[in-house]
């Protein structure tokens, strides 16, 4: 693999200090692809919406930070 980027290699591959933190994962919620992270209460919290439909970003239930039920 070759990276073609203006960002220095040592910045990309620096040691991260919080390894225990939950890994964000991609799920499909009612047809909208979202990246969720588990919070302290073990709830799925939206980190990022991956949909290409701009209308999905206006959906109140899928704002970043919203908790999925």
């Amino acid at each position: 693999m070759i990276l073609y980027t203006m960002m220095p290699q040592e910045l990309i591959f620096q040691q991260s200090y919080h390894q225990e933190q939950s890994q964000p994962k991609l799920i499909n919620h009612n047809g909208i692809p979202v990246i969720v992270e588990e919070n302290e209460q073990k709830q799925q919290q939206i980190v990022r919406i991956l949909s290409t439909n701009p209308q999905d970003y206006l959906n109140e239930n899928y704002y970043p930070g919203q908790i999925l039920s």
């Binding site: 693999m1 960002m7 591959f13 991609l26 692809p33 290409t52």
Partner: protein
């Protein structure tokens, strides 16, 4: 009468504070999540879909979690879905990337270039390194006046290239990027290589940092503009496509 009224009041009374609490809680949640209370709502479905490419473009290798990435395996299926969905008529690409994996970047650029539907890109902030071929892959490209594109050679950072084959391999990779940019924009190969290998523009490296208007004057990007121009252009291209189809039918 009096009794009735009282009863009505006592019925409503416990509900009202609850309602208030709910709406208050909702607003508080929103402020915590977005830093604002309301986002504009649009009723109808959009015929233009939007693909945002931010951070590092991630391909064959998973990057450490502190990197903000756009993953190849997320983007490619989205482009396929856009191509096959008849309701979607155009694609807007928003770019703010620092570069990333060569093969993943070229794959995304090729997918966008081979799309049958009109596509327009906007470079906001930065479209560096492998972001350059993605920016030029669309039918028409825009760059914000303040946005920059860094054009520099492909290399292995901080390493001395030991084997001649390694150098040749890198050179071939570089050729792929140069060829793609030459084919999909108005810049000549000579000019692009000149920008790529020029000295004294970047403090610790060879290459050039091309700012908004300059990218247009070199022929790399079509026009300086923002979201309004991009959407207008996309609608024009969609309309053009419709007219061509009608002519064919007649």
């Amino acid at each position: 009468m009096f009794e009735n009224n009282e009863r009505l009041h006592s019925d409503e009374a416990p509900q009202q504070p609850n309602k208030n609490e709910e709406s208050k809680g909702g607003i508080l949640d929103k402020i915590q999540q977005l830093g604002q209370t309301n986002v504009a709502q649009l009723p109808q479905d959009s015929n233009i879909h939007c693909l945002t490419i931010v951070g590092q473009i991630e391909g064959h290798m998973q990057l450490p979690p502190q990197n903000k990435t756009t993953k190849y395996e997320h983007v490619i299926p989205q482009i396929v879905a856009i191509e096959q969905n008849p309701k979607i008529e155009g694609l807007l690409i928003i770019l703010n990337t620092v570069g990333g994996d060569v093969e993943a970047g070229l794959a995304i650029a090729e997918m966008i270039a081979s799309l049958s539907k009109p596509s327009v890109s906007i470079v906001l902030g930065g479209g560096h390194s492998i972001g350059v071929p993605i920016a030029v892959s669309t039918d028409y490209s825009y760059i914000a006046g303040t946005a920059t594109m860094t054009i520099h050679p492909i290399r292995l950072t901080g390493l001395v290239i030991g084997v001649p084959q390694t150098f040749e391999y890198l050179d071939k990779m570089q050729e792929r990027v140069i060829n793609f940019v030459r084919e999909h924009s108005h810049i000549s190969e000579e000019k692009f290589k000149e920008l790529m290998f020029s000295k004294g523009n970047l403090t610790r490296d060879i290459g050039t940092n091309v700012v908004g208007g300059d990218a247009v004057s070199y022929g790399l990007i079509n026009e300086v503009g923002g979201v309004a121009q991009a959407i207008k252009k996309l609608n024009e291209l969609i309309e053009q496509g419709r007219q061509n189809e009608e002519q064919l039918l007649q």
